[in-house]
């Protein structure tokens, strides 16, 4: 049908249905049922009802390679195929729902805790099981049609349309920031957002129109404008500086616009930017996969506590740690960084000979040793063990209080981030950066070319450790009390996800990665519970669909274009495939699969 094999349509449709069932089982519908995006009708939960059908239809209408020729699907065929795959998926989903109702929701809940009466009500639009199912099926078919449309419509329609819809969803998700920004800037926000809820219908229309118009302007004359702007920004140093200054200016005024609650989220984003920048040196530049990065974070936090006169929590009150000093934070933090660099050397030295996955596992082990010891009673006299420490310095200076005022803290964090970013940037373009690069691509060749891999590996570990410890030091200042629960493996994995989502070796990428992975869940409390699920899914999806990350490192992308290095040739192939077909969706799409018509 429409140039797509029927078997493929049915299979993808079925997968869409299974996807919807998964979303139901894992509890996402229940969680997001009431998160309004537009008006009271469009909630994130309802978007998630349509999403599996949309994704399935989008995937199944992809161009295929038939007998060596790339064939795209026509619009009419695309809509039909989308509708059909949506229908198949909806059938599966509806059947599962019917089964659940017949079998007894309470009996299923003994195994799957998310299956509840409210969930069934939500999915059947409060009409009960047989009566509400046609609505569900119709919605999924619409989702399928839209998916087919987004893939097969003429480019000048589908691009603005997708941009508009994405903008509406994004504005809906950012419902707790944008109204505040508007009010702070002196505008009315009531026409755009319902109070304490999502966009108004009128607001959604405006957002859609503006985004669509902007997109078609950007892509006019077949993308030549876009290319010209890109080239200019890419080549002219003035444009680069301008862009940097603009980003910096936005980052500087952001907390003033957003108030304390959101500044707190931004503060934790900044801590992860710092961790990401440090880890980026180790993983992105030097190519050493470090899964124990939490060790430096913990080291930085606890050492800052010890050096600035924090005390231990005990059952009887407070006690002085076995080792303690009472230094000014701005003196202590450099000592911490220096010590952490030493720890980096210490960790790096014995594992130098290990490569790739073994190195990753050893660092994971070292990180876990740190976590286990931090939480053990043995560590009690020094760092408080399970009870932890409190009373870390507030690092007050010029009347700024970095512990109780998140806006002030943000600026402290920003200062450290800028420092780390500057160091990373200078390093990446220096001789050292090129040595790391060479080492990452092929260690033996780099060695043969006279690069001392020992030296540069140790340097990467030391620098990465120092920057990571700064993240820990800031964390300690921001929350004031330290408990082992903050220093678990999740920190390492989150930092890794930030670096990988943004793009290995890319400094702006770290910022974007942290904003997406830390900022978004922080703004929507509903996401909190699913944070780790999303991180895990994101890691898998990025590695499969877009291994170079959201904002690829420039030098790496050049390598990717050259296809000189076999390691990157694979990434280039994957990138080319996903980008050729899926330019519509930022963040890649579902790559082409070689599949001959049967």
């Amino acid at each position: 049908m429409g140039g797509v094999p029927t078997r493929s349509i049915v299979r993808t449709g079925l997968l869409g249905g299974v996807g919807a069932i998964y979303v139901a089982l894992v509890g996402l519908y229940t969680k997001f049922a009431d998160l309004e995006l537009v008006g009271q009708q469009i909630t994130l939960g309802r978007v998630l009802i349509v999403a599996p059908a949309f994704v399935a239809a989008f995937a199944v209408t992809r161009p295929r390679v038939v007998a060596g020729e790339r064939q795209t699907v026509e619009l009419r065929g695309g809509l039909g195929v989308g509708a059909l795959s949506g229908l198949v998926g909806a059938g599966v989903f509806a059947a599962a729902l019917w089964f659940a109702d017949w079998f007894g929701v309470d009996r299923i809940r003994e195994v799957f805790v998310a299956i509840t009466e409210p969930l069934v009500d939500f999915l059947t639009f409060d009409k009960g099981v047989p009566a509400g199912l046609p609505i569900l099926i119709a919605l999924c078919v619409v989702g399928g049609v839209v998916g087919g449309f987004v893939r097969t419509a003429p480019v000048e329609i589908r691009r603005p349309a997708s941009a508009g819809v994405l903008a509406v969803i994004l504005f809906g998700l950012l419902q707790r920031i944008i109204p505040i920004v508007f009010v702070q800037l002196g505008f009315e926000a009531d026409w755009l957002y319902d109070r304490g809820a999502g966009l108004t219908w009128f607001g959604a229309l405006i957002v859609f129109a503006v985004a669509a118009a902007a997109n078609s302007l950007w892509n006019r004359d077949g993308g030549r404008t876009r290319e010209r702007v890109r080239r200019n920004v890419g080549q002219a140093p003035a444009a680069k500086v301008g862009l940097f200054v603009a980003i910096l200016a936005i980052m500087t005024i952001l907390p003033l616009l957003l108030g304390t609650a959101i500044s707190e989220v931004l503060g934790s984003v900044m801590i992860y930017v710092l961790l990401g920048l440090g880890l980026n040196i180790v993983v992105g530049y030097a190519g050493l996969l470090d899964l124990g990065y939490v060790a430096f974070f913990a080291f930085g936090a606890y050492t800052t506590g010890l050096l600035t006169g924090a005390f231990l929590n005990t059952t009887t009150g407070a006690a002085t740690p076995a080792l303690s000093a009472d230094l000014n934070f701005y003196v202590a933090v450099w000592i911490v960084a220096l010590l952490a660099a030493g720890v980096g050397l210490l960790i790096g030295a014995p594992v130098l000979r290990l490569r790739g996955d073994y190195l990753a596992i050893v660092t994971l082990g070292l990180g876990e040793i740190v976590s286990v010891i931090t939480a053990s009673k043995w560590a009690q006299p020094l760092i408080g063990g399970p009870q932890g420490m409190r009373g870390v310095t507030k690092a007050e200076v010029f009347g700024l209080n970095f512990q109780d005022n998140p806006q002030h803290f943000y600026y402290l964090a920003l200062a450290f981030v800028l420092l780390a970013a500057f160091v990373s940037w200078r390093l990446s373009t220096s001789r050292i950066g090129r040595a790391w690069n060479a080492m990452r691509e092929d260690e033996q060749v780099a060695d043969a070319m006279g690069i001392s891999t020992t030296k540069f590996k140790l340097l990467a570990f030391a620098l990465g450790g120092a920057i990571g410890s700064l993240g820990g030091a800031l964390f300690a200042v921001s929350i004031g009390s330290l408990t082992p629960a903050s220093f678990e493996i999740t920190v390492s994995i989150t930092a890794l996800a930030v670096v990988i989502l943004g793009g290995l070796g890319s400094i702006p990428g770290v910022l974007v990665g942290a904003l997406v992975l830390i900022g978004l869940p922080g703004l929507l409390r509903e996401f909190e519970e699913y944070r780790a699920l999303i991180y895990g899914g994101a890691l898998v999806a990025i590695m499969i669909l877009r291994p170079q990350g959201l904002i690829p490192n420039v030098r790496r992308s050049r390598e990717l274009e050259d296809e000189e290095v076999s390691q990157d040739a694979w990434a280039a192939k994957a990138a080319a495939e996903s980008e050729a077909v899926a330019a519509v969706l930022p963040g890649g799409g579902l790559g082409v699969e070689r599949e001959d018509l049967e």
Partner: protein, 366 residues
Amino acid sequence: MATATDEQVRGAELGLLERLPWRRIILVVLSIAILSVVAIGAFKTLTLPADERYSTTTWKDFIVLGLAQGAIIALIALGYTLVYGILRMINFAHGEVFMFGAFGAFFFSDAWEQSGFLNSNPILSMALLLVIAMLVSMGVAILLERIAYRPLRNAPRLVPLITAIGASLFLQNTARGFFGAQSRGFGVPEVLDGTWTILGVEVDRIQVVVLVTVIVAVTALSLFVSKTTTGKSMRAVAADSEIASLMGIRVDRVIVTTFAIGGLLAGIAAVLFSITFESVSFTMGFRPGIAAFTAAVLGGIGSISGAALGGVLLGLLQSVGPALILTGYGIPSSFQLKDAFTFLVLVLVLIFRPGGLLGSSEAEKV
């Protein structure tokens, strides 16, 4: 003239310093330090005053417990080793495969405990639980391979590892969403409470069941790998997948089989683990997973007997080690550091003998 000589002397010294095998010196110093810490600790523990000392029975309990836990670790470790042998990749999510098996068994054992089936037919119900857990784990392992790993077959080495970490996180939190965040008590047939006396030693019945099951499973696996055609093709793919595919072996199918077998073994381990600790939770896969990976590396990754040996050694080390070595230093609650022990062993093995105990020390492998 004097300065020139000085320079010459300094040059000579520098040359000597640079020529010294620093790495080896550091390693030797490190190993001497570790050995003396262990020896002194053990000596101190064993010479504690009689009232503070562990009794012989306690040591025997530690050993039996270590053997039983080591046996479970060994089963999980086989899953790592099989996959590593064939794909040269660390299936980081294997601990989660194990966890899903445990949940699969849990829901049935829970229902059967309430209906009384668990206690009226203990042998049949345990056998069924094993089968259920094996099937669930196998299903998860196959899905994992199909969705997360197959698209990355020819990717650079770190890419599948990062994917595996992501998959591990994803599966763990899927279980949390599916089954809830709290841990649940796992019912054990009453027959298995209490002890049996074997060769004059009182042993928990559960530990006997664990050890016997593991011995049967490992024997079955080694027979399978050495005698059957599928086992032969697995070995062929492990040796050289390209040549194997030229010889008419369907590499993809062999890989799926390998994941399936790893899943089956993880399912068995899951039931044994659950009846030993009597609880299941969505985080239960992580630490045993890492321990099992350590065991696989300790024994020599890629080698089946190595994984079994490594598992048992690690189990013993985990249960005896903290008590034997750390108690002597007066470290409180030394068992809390059990996992630190695991990781320390992992790090040391990789530093000193990356090939593992039974593996050849191929530098290329690491």
